[in-house]
Amino acid sequence: MLKLTDVTVRFGAFEALTKVNIEVKEGELVVLLGANGAGKSTIFNAISGLYKPAAGEIEFIGKRVNGYSPDRMVKEGTSQCPEGKKLFPDMTVQQNLMMGGFVHRRHKDQLKTSLEEVYELFPILREKKEHAAGSLSGGQQQMVAIGRALMARPKLIMMDEPSIGLAPLIVEQMFSIIRKINESGTTVLLAEQNANAALKIADRGYVIENGSVVLQGSSKELFHNDAIRQAYIGA
């Protein structure tokens, strides 16, 4: 479904990504593991069209999508849930969710169904729908961010560190919901530092360091890899 071949991204003289090769098949849940600044978000932004690769190819559902604008990529079927649950703080919860359905704005019925699905996934959001999004707790804000990304009805959803800053119990809930989203047919690309939790739900993983893929394999392989256990799991 998604294939990155030798993707390189530069900011001036700084090379943020060096020849990154990643493949995500339809229906998979793939995780990118890496520390802060490893390049996970840059990979996401390259896929979503915010950054243009200096070299390499990005292919999405059989189409070369290098240089597509971000809004065009959403129409193609990607959706990004940015790091740090960036919401629109001046809007209510429901307005935030509706913004996520922007590309389907002319299909009112579909939006209604999507909204209903999001509320079923996160019942607490229905209760808080008239609240200003900026007044919610961290976990609830993350739910809004994920719900907003789902409103675009993406074929591929990219979630950037959905567990960051959340209490352990909430993290567990969040990951089981991500699993659920994947099981309902949406391909998921996840960026995480919490390797322990992420590898439990992912099919495969890539380890990113200094803008390159240094290791890849099935979740099982990665989970039992000594280097990863030392670096990310701490056991």
Partner: protein, 336 residues
């Protein structure tokens, strides 16, 4: 008390007040004139609010566009002796067209670069008007701009009739602003104000949306400028001066940037303050300056925004911390 002070009632009272105002001051041309000028400036400030307040792009070219509207109407009605209403329409259209062209270039820049760029655009428009003697009359200005042509039995010779004409345009301008801001388009603009990158990743074409917002806001300025020309009957290059745009900005910030009633509150407040402080000449700026600084520090969304914040606090509502703006009315009509 909450019931008595609800929004509808306040709006109804204000509109009725505006409608009966000329009856109270029927023989006081001065008071009516000041009010009318205030309404005209408010229209322009509503335009600025759309691009600067709701879309988050601080445009400082609005006096320039105000002047394009004023001069288009002035030139068409004096030199070409065109019908006022046709000239008014053309003034708005030409201003919008100029906004489209300049906006295409200006919106390639972001944040403070956009502000600086538009400030320069505004100044260039001023220079153009000042130096292009043949077209604009240069420093001598344009004199003898006619009053609006009558529509059937309606004539616009008296101060009262001009007052009502401008009031009608002001109400229309406010109505359009409210409709835009409370629609999905408005929320698209607010999304861009919050974060352009985020808006893009949700599928919003930010370039087109910013451009449309800019053109609409400039059309407001053009309309205001054209009405101004017809009211004062004389215009000079001063209407395009940077003083003018900073006045608009002051009205907007003190009234409440990014709020729907802020432009009206700020403009009317300052228009009357300026009148009361006129005997102090330039020294009135000694009062305005500190007010502005204090407002920006303590009430970044002005009188109206501050009012809503205090009200929300009294009702123990939680406010978002990340944003200085707060949209107090979730619009239910568009959401089911």
């Amino acid at each position: 008390m909450g019931k008595i002070l609800n929004q509808r009632t306040v709006i109804a009272v204000l509109v009725i007040f505006a409608l009966v105002f000329p009856l109270i001051y029927a023989d006081n041309r001065y008071v009516l004139h000041v009010m009318t000028i205030g309404f005209i400036f408010a229209i322009s400030v509503y335009g600025m609010n759309l691009i600067a307040g709701f879309t988050g792009q601080l445009s400082l070219a609005h006096a320039g566009f105000f002047a394009i509207g004023a001069y288009t109407l002035g030139i068409l009605t004096t030199r070409n002796e065109m019908n006022f209403w046709l000239a008014l329409l053309l003034a708005v259209l030409l201003t919008s067209a100029a906004g489209l062209v300049l906006g295409l270039i200006a919106l390639r820049t972001k944040e403070h670069f956009f502000a600086i760029y538009t400030l320069i655009v505004g100044y260039l428009i001023y220079l153009l008007i000042d130096k292009w003697d043949g077209l604009t009359g240069g420093v001598r200005g344009l004199i003898g701009i006619p009053i609006p042509d009558p529509i059937g039995p309606l004539t616009f010779e008296s101060a009262t009739s001009m007052y009502y004409l401008v009031l009608a345009f002001l109400l229309l301008s406010i109505f359009i602003s409210v409709r835009i801001v409370r629609s999905l388009t408005g929320r698209t603009y607010i999304a861009i104000r919050n974060s352009e990158e985020l808006a893009q990743t949700l599928g919003i074409n930010t370039r087109i949306n910013k451009l449309v917002s800019f053109v609409i806001s400039v059309a407001y300025a053009g309309l205001a400028g054209a009405l101004y020309a017809s009211l004062t009957r004389f215009i000079g290059p001063d209407v395009a001066s940077t003083n003018m745009v900073f006045n608009f900005l002051m009205y907007l910030i003190v009234g409440g940037i990014g709020t729907l009633s802020g432009p009206l509150v700020g403009t009317m407040l300052f228009i009357w303050l300026e009148q009361f402080l006129r005997s102090y000449q330039e020294y009135h700026l000694l009062i305005f300056g500190p007010i502005l600084v204090l407002m920006v520090i303590f009430f970044p969304t002005g009188i109206v925004g501050g009012f809503y914040k205090i009200k929300a606090k009294l009702q123990h509502k939680k406010l978002p911390k990340e944003s200085k703006y707060f949209n107090p009315v979730p619009e239910k009509s568009t959401e089911k």
